[in-house]
């Protein structure tokens, strides 16, 4: 079981670099948890993604799940606290200097400018996860149905994931 300090350090670093709505966490955590440290299998990673989407919290709740896997309840707690420390500290700093910050355009332009790379990384995560975990006709039908519902209806992801779980229970 990895030491809590290692966990804290890993999640703190992830917290420092996650920009662009949090979805960049998917490729980052996938790489670190599955490929690098082997704390989770790919299947577990995807299941964790489903579970973290069932709560109102941000996608970063995936940190709680992966931390839990690596170090039990305390691992989950440490992961959650440390992944959120950087953004909370930054928001507090911003709140404090809010009136002076309006004219620091260079920061905003830089962050806006790298968002296309985030899009590429998220697409790559979908590709990698799909290529290694999808098999069989049924799963592709579910993927297509999920895509259509999530793209063109306003149904919340939580409801769609719960529904998919129900269907999975029936057909498998």
């Amino acid at each position: 079981m990895p030491a809590l300090l290692t966990l804290a350090w890993i999640y703190f670093r992830i917290g420092l670099i996650f920009v662009g709505g949090g979805y960049v966490l998917i490729p980052l955590l996938n790489h670190i948890m599955v490929d690098q440290y082997h704390w989770l299998s790919l299947r577990e990673f995807l299941d964790g993604l489903a579970i973290s989407q069932l709560t109102p919290g941000p996608l970063a709740m995936l940190a709680t799940f992966t931390g839990f896997r690596a170090g039990g309840f305390w691992g989950g707690l440490v992961a959650t606290v440390f992944i959120f420390i950087p953004c909370c500290v930054l928001m507090l700093i911003i709140g404090r200097n809010y009136h002076r910050l309006k004219n620091i355009d260079i920061i905003r332009h830089t962050l806006d400018g790298l968002l296309p790379a985030v899009v590429g990384l998220v697409a790559a995560a979908a590709w990698n996860l799909g290529a290694t975990s999808l098999s069989g006709f049924k799963e592709f039908i579910l993927l297509a149905a999920g895509f259509v519902i999530l793209k063109w209806t306003k149904l919340s992801p939580m409801v769609v994931i719960l529904g998919a779980g129900g269907i999975g229970l029936l057909i498998n």
Partner: protein, 185 residues
């Protein structure tokens, strides 16, 4: 900080955001809408304009539903307020995910659970695809951003680069462009 705002107790901040964090199902923007209704319209803790600015900063810095909570908490009661609001907002989700994780890793081998999760897997991937497309339509405008997105995609899929390095490279590139544009203006 306004004078009348300092009357708001930290406990009230905590429970307000815990309520948002517990009932704001639907994620992301649904939560922001709920936060706006409660903090701007009902309680009058923050003006609508300041709220939008907080949201703009929050979106740059990742998990914006959490960031907006921190921002409002700080606006109402300073640093302690920001921390209390952030903890209040995250706590319900943290407890839920911990409970789910415990169930998951304890009953891993339960055939029913495995069958259900086999159904959720493709849908989770569909969700990521939808996010990529929606983000792409908003963020990718013009040739240079298209090249950047493609390069990031290829670097991770075909050349197996670490996502963090790709992100850092993109940030360095983007910073260079911003500085260049400012110099030439």
């Amino acid at each position: 900080m306004n004078g009348n705002l300092s009357k708001v107790s930290l406990a009230e901040l905590f429970f307000t955001f815990a309520k948002i964090g517990l009932t704001g199902f639907g994620g992301g923007m649904a939560i922001v809408a709920l936060t706006e209704r409660i903090c701007v319209k009902e309680k009058g803790w923050i003006s609508s304009e300041e709220f939008m600015h907080g949201l703009a900063f929050g979106q740059i810095l990742g998990p914006f539903s959490l960031n907006v909570s921190t921002f409002i908490g700080h606006h109402v009661r300073g640093i302690a307020g920001g921390i209390v609001a952030a903890i209040g907002f995250i706590l319900p989700s943290f407890l839920l995910v911990s409970l789910f994780s415990w169930l998951y890793f304890t009953f891993h081998k339960l055939p029913q659970l495995q069958a259900a999760l086999k159904g959720t897997n493709p849908v989770v991937i569909a969700l990521i695809v939808v996010v990529a497309i929606d983000m792409g339509r908003k963020q990718i405008k013009g040739i240079s951003s298209m090249i950047m997105a493609l390069a990031a995609f290829c670097a991770t899929v075909f050349f197996k680069f670490n996502a963090a390095w790709v992100l850092l490279a993109a940030a360095a590139w983007s910073l260079g462009i911003s500085i260049y544009r400012r110099e030439s203006n």
